[in-house]
Amino acid sequence: MLLQIKNLKASIKNSDAEPILKGLNLEVNANEIHAIMGPNGSGKSTLSKVIAGHPDYEVLEGEILFNGKNLLDLEVTERANAGIFLGFQYPIEVPGVNNADFLRLAYNSKQVFEGKEELDPLDFNELLENKINMLNIPPYFIERSLNEGFSGGEKKRNEILQMAILEPILSILDEIDSGLDIDALKLVSESINKLLAPHKAVILITHYQRLLDYIKPTHVHIIYQGKIVKSGGAELALELEKNGYAGAVK
């Protein structure tokens, strides 16, 4: 099993408010695509951040195993290097940091972690060029500062480019479809489909069935008040679309 989350309870660090995740269970295997849906404030983004190790959250109870290893013992950097990728709902703009340099640095960090040789700029550019061609990303993307002045759609495509470079085993894509018009949604979805592989898995966090028209999930989960309350196949998302969350969680 790739990812196993057992009875996960988590809250915002140093806060008296009640936990956001209240005993969540989830199992993800290689070659699976899980869609996690749920109303606003149900804990979807929190779940993704807790898995990635965001410092604002505190795990109160439960465990997260990744390839059988306790993920909660690892730092953010180590989780990333172990093969976990979080696609941000709102990717951060980092002025002054060239996108290509950033991608090379991230790639080489992983190489070092895996005891492999770092790529020099020339070799890396070749790899980068292959990836942007594959994803139909225009060359100006990599010449600019990381996400600076990017449109919503460009930022999301840049997340997918990072995913393509880092080749994570588990990608958690937090509302990758938000802020995208139909054309961009199609582009992004096609890119994600290209990056699927039998030894990998994807968790899609989304509000809308629309994304799942393009990326077919093997599993759909409904998260509500910090727990997964219903799981099923792709048909569950269609049902949600028809009856809304109220119908699904009662």
């Binding site: 990635a52 190790g53 965001h54 410092p55 604002d56 730092e75 953010v76 950097t77 989780r79 990333a80 290097n81 990728f85 979080l86 941000f88 990717p91 951060i92 980092v94 002025p95 002054g96 940091v97 950033f102 640095l105 991230a106 960090s109 992983k110 972690f113 500062s145 990072q162 880092l166």
Partner: protein
């Protein structure tokens, strides 16, 4: 600094008797200096200056050539740092005196300033007393400078290669005085890199570098000046740059501070004609207990000029910085557009910044803005980079770099850009 005025007076007489132009000007300034004494923190300009630190050091204001602890020829850095682009155009000064010069354009006049003043009295009348500021360090420089640099670019010269002026300090436990008069006539184009450093960069010598730059930019001239302060980490630098801009001139001035234990740079620009554009960009990168005071006065005297100031500070350790900037828009200077922004990144809870952007507007139809920010690196930015497998140390470094890049990226001389990046990395 030892405040024994009595011995100073005797020293002054001996010291100046050997100088060219040991004249009334020196004596008057010396007297004013003695009368005035050092300022204190109640003086607005020196509000944040740590005098205790300066006075606790033994720095002889009279630099003498025959000192035993001066760095000998063999000990000097064999190759003083020169940008590759400046191989054919470099002037090296040691303790304010020209040691060597090389210039590809023979129309440009380079001479020692005292010689230029004694040969051309009209120059002296026009420029010697023109740097109007009368604070105690200026008075000291006025009375004790030696040699100096006279740099004169006649009209209609377009230089394709930058010129480097190195101001090297070799005055252990002494003050040394630099005085540079840079005149660029009409319709010129030039890039000048002014580099201040200790002559023996491997040793953290204690000295005081007292520096006055007078810069005159003629009509329609396009000039870039890169002032890099990389003094020894135990040194003091007190600098004053007086800039006069004529009609339709365009000056980009970069003030990049990395070195010195304590440095202060007052930059004053007078907009003396119409249609002038002046960009002033500053970076200060401080660590340990370094202090850096950046003070800017822009006098917008004439209509339809624009100016843009951007100062960015990166502070770690228990370093301290001051940014005091004032834009004065005089009566009749309509159509002025002036911006001033000071942004600071505090990387340590013990670092401290005092920032005071100010406006004084007496004209109509002006567009002015000013502001300051003080912040830390954003947690979300750090998390974003960490989540891509980048180590925390590297993440902090590239985010800090990114902060400075807004300025460094615009440096037009490639090797100076990478040199600046190196200095930044060394000082983080």
């Amino acid at each position: 600094m030892i405040l024994q005025h009595k011995t100073w007076q005797e020293n002054f007489t001996t010291y100046t008797s050997n100088l060219i132009e040991a004249d009334e000007f020196r004596k008057q300034n010396w007297q004013s200096f003695l009368d005035k004494g050092f300022p204190s923190n109640s003086d607005e300009e020196w509000k944040y200056f740590n005098f205790e630190e300066l006075f606790s050091q033994t720095i002889n204001p009279f630099y003498a050539e025959k000192q035993t602890d001066l760095i000998s020829e063999s000990e000097k850095d064999q190759t003083s740092f020169v940008l590759p682009e400046c191989e054919e155009n470099q002037i090296i000064l040691e303790n304010g005196q020209i040691k060597s010069q090389k210039i590809s354009n023979q129309q440009i006049i380079i001479a020692s300033l005292d010689k230029a003043f004694s040969d051309y009295s009209e120059l002296k009348i026009k420029y010697l007393n023109q740097a109007a500021k009368q604070d105690v360090f200026t008075l000291q420089n006025n009375s004790l400078w030696q040699g100096g640099l006279f740099f004169y670019m006649p009209a209609n010269i377009v230089l394709n290669e930058p010129i480097q002026i190195s101001l090297l300090s070799n005055s252990p436990h002494c003050a040394n005085y630099s005085r540079n008069l840079i005149i660029i006539e009409d319709n010129c184009q030039a890039e000048i890199f002014i580099y201040c450093t200790g002559l023996n960069s491997s040793a953290d010598e204690l000295y005081l570098h007292n520096l006055i730059n007078q810069i005159i930019i003629g009509e329609n001239s396009q000039v870039k000046i890169f002032f890099v302060q990389n003094e020894s980490k135990n040194a003091f630098q007190i600098a004053y740059t007086d800039i006069k801009l004529q009609n339709n001139s365009n000056l980009d001035f970069y003030n990049l501070s990395f070195g010195a234990k304590t440095s202060k740079h007052l930059i004053q620009a007078d907009f003396l004609g119409k249609g002038i554009h002046h960009n002033l960009k500053g970076i200060y990168v401080l660590n340990n207990s370094q202090a850096c005071h950046s003070q800017v006065t822009f006098n917008h005297n004439k209509p339809n000029c624009s100016s843009n100031q951007l100062f960015k500070g990166i502070l770690s350790g228990n370093s301290k910085a001051e940014f005091s900037g004032i834009i004065k828009v005089k009566e009749g200077a309509n159509g002025t557009s002036a911006k001033q922004l000071n942004k600071n990144l505090l990387l340590s809870p013990d670092a401290k910044i005092d920032t005071r952007p100010q406006l004084e507007i007496k004209a109509d139809d002006v567009k002015c803005s000013h502001g300051a920010t003080i912040g830390q690196l954003e947690d979300e930015e750090i998390f974003y980079l960490l989540s891509r497998g980048i180590s925390k140390e590297k993440a902090l470094e590239i985010l800090t770099f990114g902060f400075a890049e807004e300025i460094i990226d615009t440096i037009s001389i490639p090797s100076l850009r990478s040199f600046t990046e190196q200095l930044l990395t060394l000082n983080l």
